[in-house]
Symmetry: C2
Subunit: 336 residues, 2 copies
DNA sequence: CTGTTAGCGCATTCAG
DNA sequence: CTGAATGCGCTAACAG
């Protein structure tokens, strides 16, 4: 760039014949400036194409109007949504978002917090994978506020916004509520520390429905082909299930596809529900019912909280827990 | 935060009993400091937990060590990869990435450039959707360098890194090279301004293969179900094609699934190739061959160029054009 | 209502 | 090799 000598507040003041404090007042919309002067100065600003140097301003005000979003890897399918939600709120408040991938590397993750004050950010939204104890220590040392995404104990010195981990129960509830009585499980036993599979067993139990191990299909990866295999497996049972609870949407998509290819009708013969509500749920025929974990929402709320705290550091830390949301589509309820 | 009074370079200088210029030299690894003093000061820095205030430094040096990545919407499936590639290089060079979504809103997109100098960034990687003429004008007015992602004319005052738009030809070439002679097309006629369909017709022509309109299946959306429909359509032809060129991976995935469900073997009976190389290509059985548009690579190169230019504004503008890369997987060539 | 003054925290001359 | 002084561009008292 031709390093066009950037015009400063002094230039404006000089050519307008006023003090730079007056210019400062004007560009900050401060009250107590005669309309005439304001007009005159504004004209000069326009002419010279002056825009305030935000770095200098930040040095003075300590406000950088930037927050960091630190996640492990933007390529993880949830994070674009998260980043998007976060950016929406940031933009509304005239803040920018700095993206930092820590790649699940604890030392790097902690470095992010440590360096934050030296970076151009006023706060951090952090999706951590570190041990809470360590995390807590580091956050205390930080000199910018941190909002954590996830569920934490009360003693964590940060605002947190997490998701209630009952997606599995919501999915099962849905199937039961639409009258299904022979519900199968497709996925693995370990997803989300086993919570989703546990939800399967416990939902059956709490509704006094019998558990039949023949209705559980576990595959290796939680991907489409596992779903396809599951469909074939269920099809060959003596008694075909009337519903399938899939551990995630990929599996659900596979199950739906597999069942249809085998000549069954979805949802009439078998209802299928997945979890995560990935965009793909809308791209299949029939569209797949799912439970949304509200990622964009989490991003939005996290930034909202962070901005509030930046504004007022003394507030009590908040614990926000979102409820997953059931998204009913064609794979469980016939629609037109 | 308890606004712990941040320790400054003065504090360090005072408690170490040296001038702050000496401290400055040390933290910047400048030569000409007696090892003893260096050691002593470093110890104090450690004790006090001093870290330089980057805002103040930026005010002085004019270097902010941040670049902006301006795209239309991070939720677009390509951008996470792009952002990832960009962030890799940025991080290596100790730069941060500021994420800006302009939502395909030209005025906002241009505002990004205008404001850039006021923001905490030293340059911008921009994926624009504005008219080149307008874009060119704005870039000239900007006071930070811009690197554009895309293909532009020589008069565009910015470095550019684009992709050669021959993905279609590469896909077709592959099918022809593995000996297929009855190649079908599945997708629509308009994707990428019709380039992909054009590649289908022209590849046939240049290889003296006959064009048969019965082998063209066009659906509405470029999604899985279109692929499934296409598979059914091809299956019902008098003579089934021995290969399918799908306009994108979603369609390809659908075609593969559909054909297999109809009892055909992929790739033995029908080879299928898609375009875009989305992560899902690896999640199906068989895995789907595709042509990668090297998104992460583009991000990497764009940032590399930008950093070079930030370093030396006088360099001639560069035009970089990447060649799409064919990724051969199981849907076209039997593997073990 | 407006001007003067004094830093924000650092890098960088220029003298010693 | 080190210290003292200056200013980056802006905001915020404090006076007028």
């Amino acid at each position: 760039m031709e390093t066009r000598p950037k015009v400063t507040i002094d230039d404006v003041a000089r050519t307008a014949g006023v003090a730079k404090s007056t210019v400062s007042r004007i560009i900050n919309n401060a009250p107590g400036v005669k309309p005439v002067t304001r007009l005159k100065v504004n004209r000069v600003i326009e002419e010279l194409g002056f825009t305030p140097n935000i770095v200098a301003r930040s040095l003075k005000t300590k406000l950088r109007r930037q927050i960091a979003l630190a996640i492990d890897d933007i390529r993880n399918p949830y994070y674009p949504e998260l980043a998007w939600g976060a950016e929406q709120v940031a933009k509304q408040n005239n803040f920018r978002l700095v993206l930092i991938n820590h790649y699940g590397n604890p030392s790097e993750e902690l470095a992010v917090i440590k360096e934050a004050s030296d970076m151009h950010v006023d706060g951090i939204v952090l999706l951590s994978i570190s041990h809470p104890k360590t995390l807590s220590k580091i956050i205390k040392k930080a000199n910018v506020p941190v909002t954590l995404i996830g569920n934490y104990e009360d003693d964590m010195p940060a605002d947190t916004v997490g998701l209630r981990e009952n997606e599995g129960y919501m999915a099962m509830d849905h199937l039961i509520r639409i009258g299904r009585r022979r519900i199968a499980y497709a996925g693995n036993m370990t997803v989300h520390r086993g919570a989703r599979y546990a939800a399967y067993e416990q939902s059956l139990a709490s509704h006094f429905m019998e558990f039949d191990s023949a209705l559980v299909y576990t595959g290796e990866r939680l991907a489409i082909d596992t779903g396809l295999e599951a469909a074939r497996y269920f099809y060959n049972l003596n008694e075909i299930p009337d519903a399938v609870f899939a551990a995630n949407d990929l599996v659900a998509i596979g199950v739906v596809q597999g069942l249809i290819d085998l000549g069954l009708r979805v949802p009439e013969d078998v209802a299928v529900v997945g979890i995560d509500n990935i965009p793909w749920c809308n791209l299949t025929r029939p569209k797949v019912s799912s439970v949304s974990n509200l990622v964009a929402e989490m991003g939005r709320i996290a930034v909202e909280r962070l901005l509030l705290r930046i504004d007022d550091e003394a507030r009590a830390f908040e614990r926000i827990t979102l409820e997953p949301r059931l998204i009913v589509r064609e794979s469980t309820v016939k629609q037109r």
